[in-house]
Symmetry: C2
Subunit: 155 residues, 2 copies
DNA sequence: TGACAAAGCGTGTTATAACACGTAGTTTCG
DNA sequence: CGAAACTACGTGTTATAACACGCTTTGTCA
């Protein structure tokens, strides 16, 4: 990958502002990261979104989560959680059961198979994170994380 | 927006590594930025992807670009450029013409209407970039851009 | 120069995302 | 206690993305 963004997307003119370049850099980098992540997950038969759901549900064990709570915790916006869960239920990765207290709620939990898939994937995921970020070193990683945090503050 | 990522996505356990937190931070921030960008563009009737295409084509005037060249310049991966351009052609934002030299190529150019839309959008886009990033200041923006560039180096 | 490989697009099809609406259960408040 | 407002989901439908394949044109090389 060409590290220089202007060269990467073959833009003739320089960026009009640092602010513009920053936004494009964040979006471009995330896009490449997600693409690589999807590629890495492909052999395991799940998408990055599904991986995200499984991780959240593993963390929510043994209670499970209702649909909206799950949606709010996801890394990227996902308006149609219902059918995402439908597909994952078909794949036996999650199970749904209506709550007995509040019968409007449908609590979703990760299945044994879902946990097994996560276990299989985990080391590859860690390796992926390391491959992409370890070379930056602790100090720079901390700086990057803090700067991105400052960006989100105004969102 | 809650600037703390762990709180933002309501994760119970702390992140397992800085590398993981960095990846999640980049993806989360980009997701929020793109969402806000889409929202801002909505009144103008174009998506962020279409805006990206229009910008690229404006920069490529007066020559235009063929499909693959356009695809390679896009900020986020887009495998089905053909139908994206189909829709934009329907909306009269771009025009396609087969190249006379190499008749395999279809050169796409931005139309007068497309340029007009870009003109209308431009100030809103600049305002958006400023709103999200200006408060960081020159030095921090430069640092952020350089760090993201270093990340892309390993992709 | 004629066959063959490769490049550049488009199309058919399936999967997923996005949007609007409807239904059942729950809470609130007169 | 009963109607209205609200909440949590699901469904129907349309738009867009993703994937595999095939056609046309071009370049190459025996």
């Amino acid at each position: 990958m060409t590290p220089d963004l202007q060269e990467d997307i073959r833009q003739r003119k320089p960026f009009t502002s640092l602010e513009q370049e920053a936004q494009l850099s964040v979006v471009r980098t995330a896009s490449l990261l997600v693409d690589a992540f999807e590629q890495m997950l492909k052999p395991f038969g799940i998408t990055a979104t599904q991986y995200n759901v499984l991780r959240i549900l593993r963390g929510a064990e043994p209670d499970g989560l209702c649909r909206n709570e799950l949606r709010d915790r996801m890394l990227t916006r996902m308006p149609d959680v219902t059918r995402l869960l439908d597909r994952m239920e078909d794949a036996k990765l999650v199970a749904r059961a209506r709550d007995s207290d509040d019968r409007r709620l449908v609590s979703t939990r990760i299945t044994a198979k879902g946990l097994r898939v996560l276990d299989e994937v985990d080391s590859a995921v860690t390796a992926e994170h390391m491959r992409r970020f370890h070379h930056l070193g602790r100090t720079q990683l901390r700086t990057l994380i803090d700067l991105l945090s400052a960006v989100r503050e105004k969102l």
